[in-house]
Amino acid sequence: MTLDHRTTYVNTLRSSIAVLVYPFQYIVNFPANVGDWASDSFSSRKTLQEENATLRTQNLILTTQLQKLNFIESENIHLRSLLESSKRVGERILIAELLSVDMDPYKQQVTINKGSASGDDIYPGQPFVDAKGVMGKLVHITPFSSTALLITDPSHSLPVQLNRNGLRAIAKGTGSQSRLEIPHLPNNADIKVGDLLVTSGLGCVFPVGYPVATVTEINIDPSLPFAEVIAEPIAELDRSSEILLVWPGGKAKPNPSNPCQMESGLELEKNNAAEGIKAS
């Protein structure tokens, strides 16, 4: 147990047992799969038409926004070159599916259907997001599946910043799926209910700029040194069935002991961190 907690020597043992467990997980997930398939196959023409119409409108809106984004991105690269800072490497992404399998009820964890055998070089500590925001990061990679810790697990914290003014903070999980805690913010900090928190990229595990949570509650008690700030995750932690795995450094894998350095010796562009500081 100590070996598992402190070192990584027993990971091979864990992944070989996990191969044994995977058929069970597959069986448990099977009814959910069948349900998806059935609802896909038997949905009526009217529902499909309605869905098609909404998707069309959504697509139109997104394409319009993308036009603007392309312009802004090229402008951003241009400005960065003027500032002589390295431009951000494009992030690589991969779609994975969640297996509907329950695990330890005292932890906020999920299982995904991608593992080391799929050849996508996913790594422990890799962040993943859903269509709306950051969900968490991978902890154990096994051949056919991987387990991931959600941002709401009590042992998980991630560096964030306020989208409005760049105020940096830490978002800590509480164990409840709709609550994140923002500790150590002074009583006079410029933070309001409804503020959007995005990842700050400090710590180099999570890529910069992904939405994390919205502030829902601020309790200021003058007798306490810090304000009590509660935020609600934007990602649909209990509903998403498809997630996106993100490689913040493009092709290279970060060093497990220091994510700001790449395994190949390359340094992850410092601007991730620098950006967070500049913005604040």
């Binding site: 069970f24 448990v28 330890d104």
Partner: protein, 162 residues
């Protein structure tokens, strides 16, 4: 005779697999907390019924698989399951003659014991949840024991495993 033994082994394995699947089926968060420990019920039953065939070793293996399936610390459930198997074998002659409600009480004590050890391990890691969260599955397991026991006894008698 040998053929019967091999056949019985398959049934024992199957019962463990069913228990594992039951312990993985997704449930709403409230029900998750009161889910009985199906694997432990199956383990304790076989330890009481066939102490010469199912014991600490199988308990340890089942615990190890459970650790991986629930992504707990490797060895945490292996330790508690092996301890429970040991106690169940130690007490099997007494538990066998108990009326069923008294058996359930014994199971409750065993589960509390397991909960305490799990709480110690979690406490050492620094992420111990509230104690009552550990007591709920212990109680639900004890409540589920009569059903599990009768079902398993039917299965054992039907396939004549001894």
């Amino acid at each position: 005779m040998k053929k019967i033994t091999a056949h019985g082994g398959n049934i024992i394995l199957l019962s463990f697999i069913v228990a594992f699947i039951l312990s993985m089926i997704p449930l709403p968060q409230v029900l998750q907390l009161i889910r009985p420990e199906f694997v432990l019920i199956v383990l304790i039953y076989w330890c009481i019924a066939l102490p010469n065939r199912v014991g600490v070793g199988i308990g340890w293996l089942a615990g190890l698989v459970f650790d991986v399936s629930s992504d707990a610390l490797l060895g945490q459930h292996a330790l508690t399951f092996a301890l429970i198997a040991y106690l169940a074998i130690k007490l099997h002659q007494r538990i066998r003659v108990f009326p069923i409600w008294q058996q359930a009480l014994t199971i409750l004590v065993l589960m509390m014991f397991q909960a305490t050890i799990t709480l110690w391990i979690k406490g050492m890691l620094g992420d111990a949840p509230a104690f009552y969260i550990f007591i709920i599955p212990a109680i639900s397991t004890a409540l589920f024991w009569p059903i599990g026991y009768l079902l398993m006894r039917q299965v054992r008698r039907y396939y004549q495993i001894n």
